[in-house]
């Protein structure tokens, strides 16, 4: 059984059908790409998968559990984590705390334990610090843990966002344009990091990206979206040679 099975997914905003009859099937451990021209509805798909938007049709099944229309916090607990196209960090919190918030549902103690500083507080905080630092180390952010998130340079902010998402212990990680604004070196490094993350944490990754060499270099399977509908799907090679895809990207005479 696939990790994520999306069938007949659709959403309409008023009269506009933003996404229509979309099917996605992501296997355990797969690196999956979702591409398409601007305005194709890629981020809308992410927002439906993470509960920001409620789909008007269709089903989303994660690991055998129907999560269609659940609120975002519940979907996070079910095992989907994400990053955002326009980075959304907790700007005024420290780098370490950003990751520790991500651990929120994994290391629990109640409010009174925190206020009264009971032994469980010390113990859990200690575990959280250790776990958070482990994640920061993977993304080479361990030296910057005391800075506030907004003090980090852009590339590191992107990394911190991934670290925070991983802190929730997801089964599926959604990355919305992870390579945006990165130079070729950083992009190559990011590719390795994503593969490393997939292998170490045993998760599947679904990513949106415009950088084609990035997508072709990393994704094992790709769905192309155009005007909210699936235009093509297949391996990188199949997509590259698909005349419909070439037409959609370069403009052809349909």
């Amino acid at each position: 059984m696939a990790l994520l099975e999306v069938s007949n997914l659709g959403i309409a905003f008023g009269g506009l059908q933003a996404v229509d009859k979309l099917d996605l099937r992501i296997e355990q451990g797969q690196l999956y790409g979702l591409i398409g021209p601007n305005g194709a509805g890629k981020t809308t798909v992410f927002n439906m998968l993470t509960g920001v938007y409620k789909p008007t049709e269709g089903n989303i099944v994660l690991d055998g559990r129907d999560i269609t229309g659940l609120p975002p916090a519940r979907i996070s607990q079910a095992g989907i984590a994400r990053t955002f196209q326009n980075i959304r960090l907790f700007d005024k919190m420290s780098v370490l705390d950003n990751v520790k918030v991500g651990l929120h549902n994994r290391y629990k103690y109640n409010m009174l334990t925190g206020i009264l500083r009971l032994p469980a507080y010390r113990e859990k905080e200690h575990e959280m610090n250790r776990e958070a630092r482990k994640l920061l180390k993977i993304f080479e952010l361990d030296k910057e843990e005391k800075l506030t998130a907004s003090q980090l340079p852009y590339g590191k902010q992107r990394k911190l966002e991934i670290a925070r998402a991983l802190a929730t212990n997801p089964k599926l990680l959604l990355l919305d344009e992870p390579a945006a604004g990165m130079n070729p070196n950083e992009t190559a490094e990011l590719m390795n990091t994503i593969k490393f993350v997939r292998d170490t944490f045993h998760i599947s990754v679904l990513l949106i990206e415009h950088d084609m060499s990035f997508v072709m270099g990393i994704c094992e399977y790709i769905t192309v979206l155009n005007y909210g509908r699936e235009l093509a799907r297949g391996t990188g090679k199949e997509i590259r040679n698909n005349p419909n895809v070439i037409a959609a990207y370069l403009g052809g005479d349909d």
Binding site: G51, V52, R82, K92, V101, I115
Partner: protein, 367 residues
């Protein structure tokens, strides 16, 4: 000891400084008072200072850490004040005074907390300006309802009316506790500066410990980015309500402390002007800065008294305004930020130059 201070987390160190300021203030006041250097007007301000410091700290939890602008803080203060003092009046002479004060504080806290929950549930669905306006309205509703509230007690129990004192139908031995717009009168004063400082430290401990815990991180995360907070599994409603209710609870306690410092209590004292004043402490002290709230609340409560002694009390609002504008500019104008950076660098330079020759001598002693 010094070594331990150096190695502890910077947040812990900063918290210790905050507690130190409060306790230092307490010690200084006690010393100056023993030396007879304090005017009676200033001594009269000590309990209100403690109450306002508590109000500023608790409002800072909502405004500075949760990031929601609440303009109804005085409403929670008045609920605490009236419920706590009603209990205090009703049990006069029946239970020991210390127990009465303690119960009054707890009752004020619980009642304000309940109203925090009742008001928080609908209000926290709103955002930004809308939330501010609705909390302002709720604050006014509370004040106006209490203004029309009559409560009396006799052998048969509590009597409540919204019409007039006569319709309470009290027995011969009964007494009116809350008399509508006249409020509560002839309150035996029970608040002391020491009690106030104890409560300030309690508020500080709860708020600071909360902020540096799992729940506090969730609250701050909601302030920084609601969508991202949701996406990592934080229950927005739960933590927004938690911050709002804790904030209301301490406003209630502060209300009891404040009210027990005066012989009479009317609800008009808790109208929106008071809410704005508390908000001003928070803004002036810096949103999200607990230490700032304390200093601003204390300074601005003393300021009118200070000006009175210089015969300038009619300029109070003018000076408030100038101080506020100056602080805003100092905090956020680009030119001011640049100037602050430069000055800090210069000072560091001076400090380093000053320290070098002196440091070689004292370094050995310290080691």
């Amino acid at each position: 000891m010094l070594q331990r201070i150096k190695t502890m987390r910077s947040s812990t160190r900063s918290n210790l400084v905050t507690y130190g300021i409060v306790l230092g203030f307490y010690a200084a006041v006690q010393l100056l008072n023993a030396a007879g250097l304090l005017s009676s007007a200033f001594i009269g301000q000590l309990v209100p200072i403690c109450a306002y410091v508590m109000l500023a700290i608790s409002l800072n939890l909502t405004v500075g850490f949760l990031g929601e602008l609440s303009l109804g803080h005085a409403g929670f203060m008045s609920i605490g004040a009236f419920s706590g003092v009603s209990f205090w009046m009703a049990t006069q002479g029946r239970i020991p005074a210390w127990l009465g004060v303690l119960c009054a504080l707890v009752i004020g806290a619980v009642c304000a907390g309940i109203f925090g929950l009742l008001i928080g549930v609908p209000v926290l669905r709103l955002e930004g300006d809308y939330l501010a306006i609705v909390t302002l309205a709720f604050g006014q509703i509370i004040v106006n309802v209490i203004n029309a509230l009559y409560i009396g007690i006799d052998a048969r129990g509590l009597h409540i009316s919204l019409k007039d004192a006569a319709s309470l139908n009290l027995a011969e031995d009964g007494k009116v506790i809350i008399n509508g717009a006249m409020g509560i009168t002839n309150i035996p004063k029970a608040s002391t500066f020491t009690l106030g400082i104890v409560l300030v430290v309690l508020t500080l401990a709860v708020v600071l410990n909360l902020i540096h815990s799992r729940a506090g991180r969730a609250i701050t995360a909601i302030r920084d980015n609601e969508i991202a907070a949701q996406s990592i599994g934080i229950n927005l409603t739960k933590y927004k309500l938690m911050a709002f209710i804790i904030s209301a609870v301490f406003a209630g306690v502060a209300g009891v402390l404040y009210a027990l410092n005066f012989t009479s209590l009317v609800s008009r004292r808790f109208d929106y002007n008071t809410s704005i004043t508390i908000l001003m402490f928070v803004v002036l002290g810096g949103m999200g800065s607990i230490r700032g709230s304390i200093i601003a609340a204390a300074a601005l409560t003393v300021l009118p008294e200070l000006m009175r002694s210089f015969g300038m009390e009619s300029y109070r609002m003018l000076i408030y305004a100038i101080v506020l504008i100056a602080m805003m500019l100092f905090n956020s104008a680009p030119a001011a930020i640049e100037w602050r950076k430069k000055t800090a660098q210069k000072l560091q330079g001076v400090w380093a130059a000053h320290k070098k020759p002196a440091g070689t001598g004292s370094g050995k002693g310290a080691a």
